[in-house]
């Protein structure tokens, strides 16, 4: 009998409470958009705050309420899914990664002082940093400290970002006091590893790998343009894979060949690069010699035949065609020609060109001095 009481009371209480709640949920109904939950569930949940909102949930609320925002971490895939839920067109989101525009390691960039004090970039920047170049990476790792994925390595005084680990959250960009970190499309493989706006004559003095505004790259490759005193890669395509070789100070890096980490930091890789570059120059010279020989032969032939009379560059080119990437070399050749007034170290190149019948092997190693 008692057990019946117990069951009765409990069920009574339960039913009462249930009824009350059911009634209350009607009376006190407050609408919340279910899409917030949905959007939240597809966000990366990194809660990094890179979007400017306090976590993914907040972002979800904001985007559902009509804000026009994108999740920089999630990239296009997330944007598309979100757009599906909201029934909107996905905004074009290009996947981007952060890149440090400086290769001025301790041995390459000149020091102007010894820094004492708080070992962060923000602090060192207050007194101008210890590098002679004021545009370079301070190397104290404020960016690495904020990186949520440990994509940043600090070594020998510069930060290098692993594009594979980078999720594009831009926290490092915000943390960097010298603004040496830039967001670049992940697909871009060609980078100028210099941020210096110093005039060429100054830049040259303070760092071995500075962009010295010689403009050779911009002339050989239309993907490069000058922004003030520094060249930048602005093209949409991959760029010519010879671009790094024409730079007299080795300030252009081809990421498809070298990982940034190694290119900036590893002596071995740098050496390998130098060898590639020397080989390229060698090829270039041989090519020129061949071309010149061909031209000479053509001229001689023409002279001999005394037909036509004009030595058309087009014929020259066709003569040079048999070698691989003939067009590109033609570009660089043009640049060399138009470079005569420039006092850049590319001089050596020109001389070599002028005396291209007898190429000098020792030229190669001296670039960028």
């Amino acid at each position: 009998m008692e057990i019946l009481y117990a069951v009765g009371i409990l069920s009574g209480l339960g039913v009462l409470a249930g009824a009350l709640l059911a009634y209350a949920s009607k009376v006190f109904y407050v609408k919340e958009d279910p899409r917030v939950e949905e959007v939240d569930s597809i966000l990366p949940q990194a809660n990094c705050g890179a979007c400017g909102y306090a976590g993914c949930r907040d972002f979800a609320k904001a985007i559902v309420s009509g804000e026009d925002i994108v999740c920089p971490v999630g990239g296009p895939s997330v944007a598309e899914l979100v757009a599906q839920i909201l029934g909107k067109e996905a905004a074009e989101v290009e996947e981007r990664v952060a890149f440090v525009k400086c290769a001025g390691t301790h041995d390459r960039a000149k020091k102007r002082a010894t820094y004492h004090g708080v070992k962060t970039c923000a602090a060192a920047h207050l007194v101008g940093g210890d590098k002679e170049c004021r545009y370079g990476c301070l190397g104290l790792g404020d960016c690495a400290a904020v990186c949520p994925t440990d994509a940043i390595t600090i070594s020998r005084g510069v930060a290098v970002i692993d594009p594979e680990k980078c999720i594009g959250c831009e926290l490092c960009v915000q943390a960097c006091p010298v603004n040496v970190i830039e967001m670049v499309p992940k697909s871009r493989k060609m980078h100028v590893v210099c941020n210096s706006q110093d005039p060429p004559q100054v830049a040259r003095k303070v760092c071995d790998v500075a962009c010295i505004a010689c403009k050779i790259c911009t002339r050989t490759d239309k993907n490069f343009t000058m922004e003030g005193n520094v060249a930048v890669f602005t093209g949409s395509e991959g760029g010519l894979d010879t671009a790094p070789f024409v730079c007299p100070t080795n300030a252009i890096m081809d990421e498809s060949k070298y990982r940034a980490l190694e290119f900036v930091l590893s002596d071995a890789v740098r050496e390998a690069f130098e060898q590639d570059k020397a080989a390229y120059k060698e090829r270039e010279r041989a090519e020129r010699a061949k071309r010149a020989a061909a031209r000479k032969a053509a001229q001689q032939k023409k002279a001999a035949a005394q037909a036509g009379g004009e030595a058309n560059p087009a014929t020259d080119k066709s003569a040079a065609k048999p070698s691989e990437d003939g067009d590109k070399k033609d570009d660089s050749k043009k640049s060399n020609e138009s470079n005569k007034i420039d006092s850049s170290p590319a001089d050596g190149d020109k001389k070599a060109k002028k005396e291209d019948k007898a190429p000098k092997a020792e030229d190669t190693g001296k670039e960028g001095e």
């Binding site: 002082a113 010894t114 820094y115 101008g128």
Partner: protein, 354 residues
């Protein structure tokens, strides 16, 4: 030399310093505890030396281990803060306590109360007191066994134990009650006769090894005040509060002290509360710990009054005869809030609502 050839050091201003240094402060405070240490040696002999040495050394060792685990230079353990914690803890222990218990105490003090929060400067609670309170609650009996000072048998046994000769160390030790314990026990009955001189000089009263002599602590405390390592606010307010509340209490509940008028008896008991137990060392050395006390002047006064109040409340009404440790720990917990609400306004501050 050519222009620009010499490379200099760059750093943020200012470029000069007054020469003060944290380790120097820490060792300075330790030095100020020298009188109390000497008295303890005189009163308890080698046992006092043993307790203090074990406490200090184990504290430094624990600190060094913690620093190594955190990939810091273990040399930082010699910055004096761990040694000071060890010394303070040792001075608040009864002389008969075993080495193992001391080490448990220093472990709690250094590892649990300090290094867990990031080491020097980060601990919210006074490490030495945390260690002591932990011991008090974990080992109530040994922590409240008080050998009489200058007892010949205890002296001999303590020397033996110090030299590692004795096995049964505390077999013959004569114990007694601390004055505060006696007062607590007899609260409702007649009070025992207390010799104020003994209390002040501390040579014949049982108690924690470093707390018995009010004079010795006072000397050290004055030293700290003169050296400007501490200021008057916290110690003075603690002592004044304890004195005032005790005086009022004994006026309301007159103690039976032979041959005294109620007022002078109340005064007598109030003075007694100031000199007895750990109040002096607490007021001058524990409550003034930089890390765990308020920073702003107003806050320091609030803190001092709070410690005084809690102490006397626990002493008069609570279950423990002594309340200084608890009082300081409780007020330590309040420090962040006190700091928050006593922060002075910047020079020329204009109220934003105005």
């Amino acid at each position: 030399m050519k222009m620009g050839e010499r490379k200099f050091i760059i750093s943020s201003s200012p470029h000069i310093h007054d020469g003060s240094l944290t380790p120097r402060i820490m060792w300075g405070v330790s030095l100020a505890l020298l009188p109390a240490t000497l008295v303890s040696f005189y009163a308890f002999g080698w046992d006092a030396v043993r307790v203090i040495l074990v406490s200090m050394v184990s504290a430094v060792v624990f600190e060094a281990i913690a620093l190594m685990l955190r990939n810091r230079r273990p040399r930082q353990a010699m910055d004096g803060s761990a040694a000071l914690t060890g010394l303070l803890l040792g001075l608040t222990l009864p002389p008969g306590i075993s080495n193992a218990m001391i080490m448990v105490g220093t472990f709690v003090a250094i590892i649990v109360a300090k290094q867990v929060f990031g080491g020097l400067g980060q601990n919210p609670f006074n490490p030495a007191l945390t260690g002591r309170v932990f011991l008090l609650i974990a080992f109530p009996a040994p922590m409240t066994t008080w050998p009489l000072p200058r007892d010949l048998t205890s002296q001999i046994s303590s020397l033996k134990s110090f030299l590692g000769l004795a096995v049964e160390r505390h077999a013959d030790v004569v114990t007694g009650a601390t004055p505060l314990g006696a007062v607590k026990e007899h609260m409702l009955k007649a009070l025992p006769h207390i010799n104020m001189g003994d209390l002040f000089f501390g040579l014949h009263t049982p108690g924690s090894i470093g707390e018995i002599s009010a004079l010795a602590i006072l000397l050290g405390g004055l030293g700290l005040l003169v050296a400007r390592i501490i200021n008057w606010r916290i110690p003075l307010t603690i002592i004044a509060t304890v004195f005032a509340v005790a005086f009022l209490y004994y006026l309301a509940v007159p103690p039976k002290v032979s041959g005294m008028s109620p007022v002078s008896a109340a005064f007598y008991m109030a003075v007694f509360h100031v000199f007895a137990g750990g109040l002096m060392i607490g007021a001058f050395f524990m409550a003034t710990d930089y890390v765990t006390s308020p920073i702003f002047p107003k806050g320091q006064i609030i803190f001092g009054i709070g410690v005084g109040l809690m102490t006397i409340i626990i002493r008069l009404w609570g279950g423990y005869p002594e309340g200084v440790s608890f009082a300081i720990l409780l007020m330590n917990a309040l420090v962040p809030l006190i700091d928050r609400y006593t922060m002075p306004k910047p020079f020329g501050w204009v109220d934003r609502r105005a």
